[in-house]
Assembly symmetry: C2
Amino acid sequence: MSKRNAILAAATRLFSRNGFQGTAMAELSTITGAATGTIFHHFKNKEDLFLHVLKDVKESVLEQFDRHQQTCRNQKGIEMVEGVIAFYLHLAGTMEDQFLILHRHYPYQMAETSMVCRSHLESIYTCLLDIFEEEIKKGMQDGSIAVDSPRKTAMVLFAMVDGIVRLNTYRVYDAGTLYDSLITACRRLLTGGR
Amino acid sequence: MSKRNAILAAATRLFSRNGFQGTAMAELSTITGAATGTIFHHFKNKEDLFLHVLKDVKESVLEQFDRHQQTCRNQKGIEMVEGVIAFYLHLAGTMEDQFLILHRHYPYQMAETSMVCRSHLESIYTCLLDIFEEEIKKGMQDGSIAVDSPRKTAMVLFAMVDGIVRLNTYRVYDAGTLYDSLITACRRLLTGGR
DNA sequence: AAACCAACCGAATGATCGGTCGGTTTTTAA
DNA sequence: TTAAAAACCGACCGATCATTCGGTTGGTTT
């Protein structure tokens, strides 16, 4: 693996575990074996490095969901929604670092000054909400889903699923056993109970 | 206001806006007009200061909810749930700094090493989940709510509401118009659609 | 009035931070 | 083969960080 990629990989882990300000370039240097000069040769400063990490996060998350979307056509809308929720929970486990970065407060703070940062975050959320919305619309057509506003329902649904992932990450309560309740809630929310 | 309280108030704002590592004791000194020596006279170090801030957050949040619980008895379970959700959203606005601290990742990281921190966080979440659970149980008795597990439903419900508050805080999407959808979702989730 | 004490001050300290720079090695391409 | 370019190195820099410490103040107790 090239030094550049090693730096990106290690930075992803450090930024997610220790946050932006909690991550020292010197530590990154130690872990990767790259001199500090090398890091600043590839990335013009710490913020630039973070932006590249976020870009990678965006690309891998979007790729994962695009791939998932292609493997499950020809289902009823509500089944597809349940499928994407299960996939979201699955990803939260396999891409723990990437999700943790998105759950930290720093990126959203940086987004207020950095357009690049903002656009990465918007890409991710737009993609996710679009998927939810499209599947809800499909469910409304095939009769498996009945709601007022697809977009708003998508946002509430996403907030619920992502909230569960957070509860799990923070380890204040064990939300690992909540999968069944989450799916039940989702189904009730989308069908109105039938 | 005593210097000690001024320090606590300013620290609450700085910790919530800039995070733990992003808050400099020197800035705290400038804002409050207290010498750095004075800060360290009242709090033995930065972490200790943070712990006292978190303690205040816990106490004010718990007090608010206790007070709210006393003003709305004699309602049906589902109405009480909807009431506490509305109150939660209301508090997220009036106690913005306190909620933001709880939405940051740092406290949960500190909770892994500091028992004091962990117990503050647990107090808050236990209180909130207990309220949701109690009201769901009440609704099950008066027939306004029908779910399988009150506790798990409480957690899913809480994750949903808190997720909406986060979406709002992060300003990636305007979740301010989601109140009606949230209540609708809540009602469907609790009644199964009747 | 003497002794005491908590609140308060701010200069000083050593560690650590992000970032630079001059130079060396490796890769690329002609 | 060679020259230019890209990758890489690590000592070094000034700024900033949390924390310390010797000393002052004003009120209370003895």
